[in-house]
Amino acid sequence: MTRRVLAVDDSKTMRDMVSFTLKRGGFEVVEAEDGVDAIARSATGLFDLVITDINMPRMDGITLVGKLRSDPRFRTTPILVLTTEADATKKAAGKAAGATGWIVKPFEPSQLLDVVHKVCR
């Protein structure tokens, strides 16, 4: 079965890039524009992976990670943070919220796929 990824980023450019990369890697991608949108879309089915940006309007990525983690359907879903932030406190907050991994933008497609394969069962 095709694995589904929820890709969350407020930048269309980034969403396009992530989608493009993952689709080529054989994933089905559902895009969301921010945390609120992601929560709404998370209700549309099960996901094998979530990739989210941090700085987004309405609901930021760290809050999103926390919210998803408290949803039973996402309790064991890998959640990767894809951000330009490399700040240690932000990372710690991400971890505390329940993020599985942290990728610093800009990313190379192969690198993203590597990490995704690494965390995706």
């Binding site: 407020d10 408290s70 949803d71 309790r75 933008k105």
Partner: protein, 691 residues
């Protein structure tokens, strides 16, 4: 990253939007505290540009946006409070960002050092941050290690429950480790409790591993980077000094035992949280989702629907001759088809509609810049920016509006001293409003400044030979002189509005859009420029009229009423014009046939004809003499200028249901074809006659 080239276009489109948001937000900044939403929006705009720029390796853009972002982050977290100069400085930064983006987009290097000064100032500004916590820049620098000899490591890895809870998988970590070299793994099951104590969600397994690899400890730690807090990990390099052994070792078992006891607590909490998380999506339901479509595709669609409307009308007209009351069902389905076609057309036209915000949003900035230059204090009030107008119109509005706003600030508003002397508040107000009325958009640009001085305007016009020396004109007529080519009221030419582009150019631009412009002014209290524009350039609701065996279309929006005049209502004027009295108003008559044809039959007999009373954009009523009214129809406008040339009194052409080309009348244009001679206008003067 070449495979991302295809997203460049998206990136720059996004940049354009972000820069617009940034500029709008920046323009509204004040010294001191600001709306957190505005600051957040600024931060995110810069942040998104930086992220995208990184993907495309626009180094200078990345460097600049990084510093800008840092400062904005400090500002939004209130660690920097904006002082008096900061809003302007940030505006300058937004300009620099803009030019760097433009350079990147055009594939050229931005001018040498264009960002240098702002970059340094940003760095200085960042230093102002209060209680700056040490901000690790976290430049992941690979540790210098040229060692190429194989080393043997032993690892003890005991995942905590939290590792599983953040969806990490020990197997994948171990697998990654195996990528480093030869790995042997042995499970440590010593912590597994008695069955009665076994908790299904607790972590009991650990692994002892032996790795032979060309790497250092850092490489191994990197594998565990994101889970290091969620596990006990000891790494020992056997070939290294044995003393370095064990840093966080044998707390493991105790910890495990503790967790077992406290385990149910987090479980209990999660269902509640889950419900919250699922309720939240409601917040997202009023989200506007959108797609980007190439404009030419939309235009083609608009064109095709236009043709469809014509084809449908042609079909309808030819069928109507055949179908009578016996064919009720056919008539009904025809009616149905008509309605649906119209709905389709409206739907398609709506695609091109955009809120005026797109153009209004740049004016806070414009006003601020100009006010600063002129040393005037100005408040810009914007209203109705959500009003939607055809995209083409929006694009064409920018220049004339900018010019008019400049005029308001430069000529309209007085200096603070002058205002004080006149008993007005020192801060002047410029109002920019938009509303939709009767199928047209009314945009007003007004100020509470000195207003037009009719005497000065008339004197100037006479000096310039725009009107005859003995002209006797009403205030309204004098005010409208400022739209004449070659008119400029400024005593001195300033670098702002006196740049040789006068209100005549503004008027021409507005007319090109099928709009009108007028001015209303009270000396000492200010002026209001009113522009009336069509909602769209593509279709028009028209009234078909016949005049001298020719069929014309009169825009429905211009029509007030249709009357059959009585003899006693009509009067010939000394200048050979004709007027009609209608409920006490005196209305000038124009014979459409005469006005548009070269034959010189003057003063037809209006008694046997009809008068369509129309209103010009300036609110003046004009009666058009026609032979008859044929009906109402929506027509697709085809420009006459493009394929033929502009004709006074004709706004464009339309292809009608019978497939023939008809002329669409331009009421204002008609009223100007044959202006009453100088000695007559007062007889026709209409005042305060807006419907």
């Amino acid at each position: 990253m070449d495979e991302f080239e295809q997203f460049r276009q998206t990136f720059f489109e996004e940049c354009a939007e972000l820069l617009e948001h940034l500029e709008e937000a920046t323009s509204s900044l004040l010294p001191g505290q600001n709306d957190p939403d505005v600051l957040d929006r600024m931060f995110r705009a810069v942040h998104s540009i930086k992220a995208g720029a990184g993907a495309f390796k626009f180094e200078r853009l990345v460097r600049f946006s990084h510093e800008f972002e840092t400062v904005m982050d400090l500002v939004r977290s209130e660690r920097i409070l904006l002082d008096d100069d900061d809003p302007d400085f940030l505006l300058r930064c937004s300009d620099v960002l803009h030019s760097l983006v433009s350079a990147a987009q055009n594939g050229v290097e931005a001018a040498e050092g264009v960002e240098h000064e702002a970059l340094e100032d940003l760095k200085d500004m960042a230093k102002r941050a209060s209680d700056t916590p040490d901000m690790p820049l976290d430049l992941i620098i690979p540790q210098a290690d040229c060692d190429t000899t194989e080393k043997r490591f032993t690892l003890h890895f005991r995942p905590h429950r939290g590792l599983y809870e953040s969806a990490n998988e020990p197997y994948l970590l171990i697998d990654a480790l195996a990528g480093l070299g030869a790995l042997t793994v042995k499970a440590d099951v010593s912590a597994i409790p008695e069955f009665k104590d076994f908790h299904p969600e607790e972590a009991y397994l650990a692994w002892d591993m032996d790795l032979l690899a060309v790497c250092n400890e850092g490489d191994i730690r990197e594998v565990f980077e994101f889970v290091e807090d969620e596990c006990d990990l000891t790494i020992t390099c056997i070939d290294d000094d044995v003393d370095e052994l064990t840093d966080t070792p044998y707390v493991v078992e105790e910890k495990g035992a503790d967790l077992t006891k406290s385990a149910p607590a987090p479980q209990a909490a999660s269902p509640v949280k889950a419900i919250q998380a699922l309720e939240d999506p409601n917040a997202g339901q009023n989200k506007v989702s959108s797609i980007r479509v190439d404009l030419s595709r939309v235009d083609r669609l608009v064109d095709m629907v236009g043709e469809l409307v014509i084809a449908q009308a042609v079909a309808l007209q030819s069928l109507e001759e055949l179908v009578d009351i016996r064919h009720v069902r056919q008539l009904q389905s025809l009616e149905d088809l008509t309605q649906r076609t119209r709905a389709l057309q409206e739907g398609v036209m709506a695609i091109r509609m955009q809120p005026l915000r797109a153009v209004f949003s740049r004016f806070p900035r414009v006003v601020r810049d100009i006010a600063a230059k002129l040393g005037k204090r100005v408040r810009l009030e914007i209203e109705g920016e959500g009003t939607e107008v055809d995209k083409t119109i929006i694009e064409e509005l920018s220049d004339p509006l900018t010019h008019m706003i400049r005029n308001c600030l430069d000529h309209g508003l007085e200096t603070p001293e002058e205002r004080k002397a006149a008993g007005k508040p020192e801060e002047g107000v410029v109002r920019l409003t938009a509303e939709q009325r009767n199928g047209r958009i009314l945009i007003r640009v007004g100020d509470d400044g000195r207003g037009l001085n009719p005497e000065k305007v008339l004197k100037k016009a006479k000096e310039k030979g725009l009107v005859s020396q003995d002209a006797d004109m009403s205030k309204e007529e004098i005010e409208n002189l400022i739209f004449l080519p070659g008119f400029s009221t400024a005593d001195q030419v300033s670098d702002l509005s006196g740049r040789g582009v006068g209100m005549d150019v503004v008027r021409r631009n507005i007319q090109k859009l099928g709009g009108r412009i007028g001015v209303d002014s009270i000396p000492g209290q200010g002026s209001i420029f009113t522009m009336a524009l069509p909602l769209t350039l593509a279709v028009l609701d028209g009234m078909l009229v016949s005049a001298r065996a020719e069929t014309y279309v009169i825009p429905l929006s211009a029509i007030v009423e249709t009357v059959c005049p009585k003899a006693s209502d009509l009067r010939d004027m000394p200048d050979s014009g004709q007027v009609m009295s209608l409920r006490g108003e005196v209305i000038r008559l124009i014979d459409v046939g005469t006005a548009l044809r070269t034959d010189t039959i003057n003063n037809v007999e209006p008694l046997r004809q009809m008068v369509v009373v129309t209103e010009t954009e300036l609110g003046r009523k004009i009666g058009l003499i026609v032979d008859g009214v044929l009906g109402q129809q929506q027509v697709v406008i085809k420009s006459l200028e493009v394929n033929y040339r502009a004709i006074a009194g004709v706004a464009g052409t339309a292809v009608l249901g019978d497939g023939r080309v008809r002329l669409i009348l331009d009421v204002d244009g008609l009223s100007e074809i044959n202006p009453p001679s100088q000695d007559a206008p007062n007889a026709l003067k209409q005042k305060g006659m807006r419907a």
